[in-house]
């Protein structure tokens, strides 16, 4: 489905600003503007044309071009359900900050500074996003080697004197942060103005991973807050530039490790669209079914840990009991429980095993009862209400300004769901409802996630019904020249073997072009921007992480609330650090 800005509006912009260049393509329509006009055009887009929702900002490095860096803004109009991208060259390595228009740009700009060294004029606190203060390099630049610079002398602790190390052993290591570095990072982020600064994290049972919160507290009340991310930063975007498209699929698993299948589907859909591959019908239904199972799985993990954070220990085990069943189903189908790598370009890796659909059908029947059980314990519990109602209220304005997506956006009453707006796979062939919140507090988000689980069961049921009739159909479009042949084909025909060899060694030779396509992850919109230069690997791959943008509003909502609320609020925003840090 086409989601980019229409001709009429492009013309309107062109009339207003004659100096811009418009590039209209099916997968990515953008407006090329000059740096001096950037803020003016963005304001025009936001206020006049209603492109008021901030989706993403990122940079691309062109080492041979002058100026070297290009910034890309992606905006969305909630009324028209259209996207528009704005590109600008960063002259003198700097761009004007757009925080005055969208607060959500704050972290994205910091990330661009961290990764590319592009400065932002007017940014309130331009410090590094993932790496520590004092780090010398900007790793996403093209001239930064994948391996990094090995320059710190770090001899092995296990090496005893007199021993001869292995022939390729090197005591030099890429730079790692020291205690002083971390202290400097902490000081740069927040000043102490009140009684105590509480370091909540990086390793803390309440933070769901390795997020480092800084709370400036007056008694138990948090007066100021900042978040230090990056403890799990692995440079996934840099790795992607050095791998073929198929090789990158396992890395998408390890971003949002709780909903691996959803990430895979979002990524593979983007690549397929760029390559022009149409997966077979059966593969589409399998993908949709697996995505929804994964969504239930993810929401169950959320329910368990959220209740655990608020002190209800028992719900945790109840939720895991059902989650275990989904894990077994996924293991039975994909072979792996967590990081399943099941989706392939052009289809899925394996056919459904015999009996899988029966197991899923039984699970669906059983699960509807279990949701009632959870709700009996929690939904009308007075303590649960006291801890959740009116905590962390998100308004519609916040959603647009911070680029919030997923359940967090829907709790504020914004019907933003990629499954509805831009249905991929079989989402346009199944029936489901979109629950919306009214208040936007933690309790709304709890109710929405419970309702979403019910809707997901409903979708899974419909997919099972369809899949039962497609038993003998093909599950991967392996006759397409870009799609890896199945194992059977490789063993039985020399052509397939050669094709397999070529695709695995040289990668899919994706035609030149750009694409931004997203999928509805349980944590929000997971978008993939791929810039291809006609090679076997992407020139630039940007991951728009829903959890990253959703987490950003935490620092605003927590002001004036207690540490106990921080737990509830963080739980209801539900970030996964693997995805925020990438």
């Amino acid at each position: 489905m086409h989601l980019w800005i229409e001709e009429k509006e492009l013309k309107e912009i062109k009339d207003k600003f004659p100096s811009i260049a418009i590039n209209k393509e099916e997968n990515f329509t953008y407006i090329q503007v000059k740096k001096s006009q950037l803020l003016e055009i963005l304001r025009f887009l936001k206020d006049r044309l209603n492109y008021k929702m901030f989706i993403d900002f990122f940079c691309i490095d062109f080492p041979l071009h002058n100026p070297r860096f290009q910034g890309v803004y992606i905006l969305f109009s909630p009324e028209k359900k259209k996207r528009v991208a704005v590109k600008v060259w960063a002259e003198d390595n700097s761009l004007p900050s757009v925080i005055s228009l969208w607060k959500g740009a704050k972290w994205a700009e910091r990330e661009a500074w961290d990764m590319f060294g592009v400065k932002f004029e007017g940014h309130e606190n331009l410090v590094r996003m993932f790496l520590w203060e004092g780090y010398k390099y900007h790793p996403l630049r093209k001239d930064f080697p994948l391996k990094g610079y090995e320059e710190v002398y770090l001899p092995s602790l296990n090496l005893r004197p007199g021993e001869i190390p292995a022939h390729n052993y090197s005591p030099y290591h890429t730079e790692i942060p020291t205690m002083e570095d971390l202290e400097r990072t902490q000081k740069k982020r927040m000043e102490k103005r009140n009684q105590i600064v509480l370091n909540w994290g990086p390793l803390h049972p309440g933070t769901h991973g390795t997020i480092w919160f800084l709370f400036d507290m007056e008694g138990e009340y948090i007066k100021n807050c900042d978040i230090i991310l990056g403890q799990l930063h692995r440079g996934v975007e840099k790795i992607a530039e050095n791998l073929t498209y198929t090789q990158f699929i396992p890395y998408t698993d390890r971003m949002d490790y709780i909903s691996a299948l959803c990430s895979q589907v979002a990524y593979v859909n983007a690549v397929e669209k760029l390559l022009g591959i149409e997966p077979p019908e059966k593969a589409k239904f399998i993908r949709t079914m697996m995505c929804e199972l994964q969504r239930i799985n993810s929401h169950l993990l959320w329910l368990g840990t959220y209740a655990l954070d608020l002190g209800a220990l028992t719900i945790f085990l109840y939720a895991f009991r059902e989650r275990e069943k989904i894990m077994d189903i996924i293991e039975g189908i994909a072979g792996i429980r967590l990081n399943s790598s099941y989706i392939r370009i052009g289809g899925v890796a394996k056919d459904l095993p015999e009996g899988a659909l029966d197991v899923i059908k039984h699970f669906c029947e059983d699960f509807s009862e279990k949701i009632k059980e959870y709700e009996t314990i929690l939904t009308k519990n007075r303590i649960w209400l006291k801890r959740n109602v009116n905590v962390g209220i998100i308004t519609e304005e916040d959603v647009y300004s911070y680029g919030l997506t997923g359940v967090v956006a829907r709790s504020a009453g914004v019907p933003y769901d990629i499954r509805m707006i831009q249905p991929t796979d079989a989402y346009d062939k199944v029936d489901f409802e979109l629950p919306l919140g009214t208040v936007g507090d933690c309790y709304d988000r709890y109710l929405l996630r419970m309702e979403e689980m019910r809707q997901s069961v409903n979708i899974v049921r419909q997919c099972v019904k369809k899949l039962e009739k497609m038993k003998d159909e093909n599950y991967i479009a392996s006759d397409n020249p870009y799609v890896l042949p199945t194992l059977e084909e490789v063993f039985n025909s020399i052509e397939s073997m050669v094709k397999d060899f070529n695709l695995r060694i040289y990668g899919e030779q994706v035609p030149e072009g750009e694409i931004y396509l997203s999928g509805e992850n349980p944590r929000g919109e997971l978008g993939f921007y791929i810039n291809s230069k006609g090679e076997g690997r992407p020139y630039r791959l940007r991951i728009r992480s829903g959890a990253f943008y959703n987490l950003q509003i935490f620092t605003k909502l927590i002001i004036g609330r207690t540490v106990a609320d921080a737990v509830a609020l963080l739980g209801s925003l539900d970030p996964v650090v693997g995805e925020t840090d990438r």
Binding site: L198, N199, P205, L310, G311, T314, R387, D565
Partner: protein
């Protein structure tokens, strides 16, 4: 000579009570773990001994042989004192808790209590209040932010509930006309004090949950917020004493006092008095049921926020306790 005899008897009784409480508390941990296991649809400890029956002994051995880490910057005196301050007062309440009427075996009269002083209940309350020093000392001495916040939270909660608890106990005392726990039980031979004191009973249930730091009032060690609360820096047996004192001994002893005040102590359950069951079996049965009730609450509910807890104490529990005194006063005027 008589004095020496009394002292010897007291010492023997104290040793029996303390050892019994230790062993009992150890097995209460097993009970809780089994109970939690079955609530959560898992079997609980199974492997040490038959059906996990020796698990508490394995736990005790493990906790005693653990390396005892003391962080560098702690206030050493208070750090050690804290775990004792939490533990000793909790077990000292036992001195005034009677477990039955005096009885005679082989011509020797045995009193199943250590002392029967006429201000027993006040003494129990006082010991209960002292144990909070352990928590505050632990929070302060650890020289760390999380224990500090945990200790202060607990202090805030306890101040609120001590007041409500004090007023709630006035009802039964008015009806019995005595502070002695034994006399309070004797006054309940015809009718249990739960009848007019139902409001006080509700208040006492909340207070016991708050004092022993069980969910929904376990804010002092809310693990998702404060890691381990005031015990974050403790290890080994020093750590083990805190939950042992709070979760088991204090809960057990307070359950016993609640039973004495509201459920007729060792008097048989109404209409079942003809059964050939000894008095202390009745007593322990009631205490056990109440203890299980606390476990049930603990493993079901989420937890309150600390400001909500103190709000509850001052705005709901204190008025309820005062209303109870009023009701009991009218009851006494009517029924004498």
């Amino acid at each position: 000579m008589e004095l020496v005899g009394t002292v010897v008897v007291l010492v023997i009784k104290s040793v029996i009570f303390i050892l019994g409480m230790f062993l009992g508390a150890a097995y209460l941990t097993l009970l809780e773990r089994k109970f939690a296991g079955h609530v959560q649809q898992r079997p609980g400890p199974l492997h040490v001994g038959p059906h996990g029956f020796l698990q508490p002994i394995a736990d005790a051995l493990k906790v005693l042989t653990k390396e005892d880490l003391v962080p560098d910057n702690v206030d050493k005196v208070l750090f050690y004192l804290a775990s004792l301050m939490a533990f000793v007062p909790a077990i000292m309440i036992l001195a005034v808790v009677p477990f039955g009427d005096p009885f005679t075996i082989f011509g020797v009269e045995i009193k199943p209590y250590i002392t029967d002083i006429n201000v027993g209940l006040l003494l129990a309350l006082a010991f209960g209040s002292i144990s909070i020093y352990g928590v505050i000392f632990a929070g302060w001495a650890s020289n760390s932010k999380y224990p500090m916040i945990g200790g202060l939270r607990k202090a805030a909660v306890l101040i609120g509930y001590e007041v409500a608890l004090g007023f709630a106990l006035v009802g039964p005392i008015m009806m019995a006309g005595s502070f002695s726990l034994r006399e309070i039980v004797e006054a309940q031979q015809n009718i249990w004090f739960i009848i007019p004191n139902i409001l006080a009973f509700v208040v006492v249930i909340f207070c016991v949950l708050a004092e022993t730091g069980r969910t929904p009032f376990d804010v002092q060690e809310a693990e998702a917020e404060l890691v381990g609360g005031y015990v974050t820096e403790y290890t080994g047996m020093k750590f083990g004493l805190f939950p042992l004192a709070e979760w088991y001994i204090a809960t057990f002893v307070l359950s016993a006092i609640t039973v004495i005040l509201f459920f007729g102590g060792w008097n048989p359950i109404p209409f079942l008095g003809w059964l050939p069951i000894p008095a202390f079996v009745w007593f322990f049965l009631k205490v056990f049921l109440l203890f299980m009730f606390f476990l049930w609450v603990h493993w079901t509910l989420p937890r309150y926020r600390v400001d909500q807890i103190t709000e509850l104490a001052w705005k709901v529990m204190l008025p309820l306790a005062l209303a109870n005194i009023f009701i009991v006063a009218i009851w006494i005027i009517i029924f004498g």
